[in-house]
């Protein structure tokens, strides 16, 4: 399968710390891939590089087969085609839920106010937040904010959506409302790369799971593979720790 988004030999270094070390992976249309691993294993940095929010120190990123940095493409236009959901929802605090979703539709895609409003409502409906459209982020729970964050990302009709531990900052109860939305998106065929510790979610929806540790991909395989017989000791120990 041709990858929509792919990295080859991606390395990201901050000072003396190697956050991501020579990682290669790709995600094809309609696939859901889950990256998991201990905190500080480089998942977030990898996703930020793939989301074109940080430039890799070494290696290449391909979007629809074209080397993003070598071809000097307009990064802003590409970012609009790669949805990104942050761990902290990072909603724009001066705008309502609707305003948050409409902003990119109007000022990036150039839709009219009416068209942007219609599309924003559709996206909010998908994440079951249409009744909260006129509320400000400060008036919403963490889970609701995260659902608006997802609506903001998917409203742009991105070709792939990257989720950076979207449930990590949420209570157990709120976690599940976000996971339910992500499950829905996966079932609709949205192309998703998700960094998460929610292994039950991964088992249900992932086409492939990727285990990272110390900035490297240690092992990749199907959910069944990881839940029955991971190859490496590190993956086995991590699975046991998470699953209790």
């Amino acid at each position: 399968m041709t990858s929509i988004l792919e990295c080859r030999g991606l390395t990201k270094v901050y000072g003396k710390v190697i956050a991501v070390n020579n990682v290669s992976l790709g995600i094809g249309r309609g696939e859901t891939k889950v990256i998991f691993g201990p905190s500080g294993s480089g998942k977030s940095t990898l996703l930020r590089c793939l989301g074109l929010l940080e430039k890799p120190t070494k290696g290449s990123i391909y979007f629809n087969g074209v080397d993003v940095y070598a071809s000097k493409q307009d990064l802003n236009k590409l970012r609009a085609r790669i949805g990104f959901v942050f761990q902290d929802p990072s909603l724009f605090r001066h705008l309502t839920a609707l305003g948050n979703v409409m902003l990119g539709l109007k000022h990036v895609l150039g839709l009219s106010d009416a068209e942007a409003r219609r599309k924003a409502y559709e996206a909010l409906k998908l994440v079951k937040m249409e009744d909260w459209a006129n509320y400000y982020p400060a008036q919403l729970s963490g889970g609701q904010q995260q659902r608006v964050g997802i609506a903001r990302a998917i409203s742009m009709d991105p070709e792939v959506v990257l989720f950076d531990e979207p449930t990590a900052a949420l209570d157990v109860e709120l976690k599940w409302e976000v996971i339910a939305v992500m499950r829905d998106l996966a079932e609709r065929g949205t192309t998703m790369l998700v960094a998460t510790h929610e292994l039950r979610f991964a088992r249900e929806v992932a086409d492939e799971m990727i285990f990272m540790d110390q900035g490297q991909i240690i092992e990749a395989g199907s959910p069944d593979h990881f839940f029955t017989s991971p190859n490496t000791e590190r993956a086995r120990k991590f699975m046991a720790k998470i699953l209790g």
Binding site: R79, F86, S90, R93, L103, G104, H107, Y136
Partner: protein, 216 residues
Amino acid sequence: MTPLEQIIFLLKAVPVTLAISFLSFLLGLGLGVSLAFMRIYGVAPLRYFSDSYEKFFRSVPVLAVMLLLYFGIGPLAPIFKDPFFTSVISLGMVSGANQSQIFRSAIGSVGRTQMLAAISIGLTQLKAMRYVILPQALFLAVPGLGSEIALLIKDSAYSFIIGVIELMKHTDILRASQRSLILPYISSAIIYVVMTFPVATYLDKWGSRKKRELGL
């Protein structure tokens, strides 16, 4: 003149005082926002320029700037022979340095993640500033801007030295014509308090409330 006539005479100068304050505030606002963005997001020469501008104009008395422009530059550039114009420019230039500091701190408080989130949906850095960073920074800056407006209203009194017929000039005319020190100055002081205190207090409260409501 009866005391009431004296107060009416003073009040007649208030529109000029307010016009100087308002126009210099607007000039300072434009300068302050631009300098703050230069300092935070600009390339090295712009950052250096902004830093030097801020340091210089925060250290120099507004009266010195006004006298320099009016008496020093005025003979060379006729535009500065106009006392009203020179007052607005002097106050605005100094206010720009103060407002730059207010906005720099407000933009810093908005946080880097907001810029990252804005860029992640495909906004250019300029659009991210326009639609995401600046509106939030404005809310955060409001209490500081309230104090700046109050300062400008007070500092506009310096304009009388270069010949602007504003509130302090009317106070001085009364002092000379009525041979009274107490009533003109006390009345004038009360008018300044009435102009400055409610604005600063209201904007401080409004800004704090908005900050709370929006979780800024």
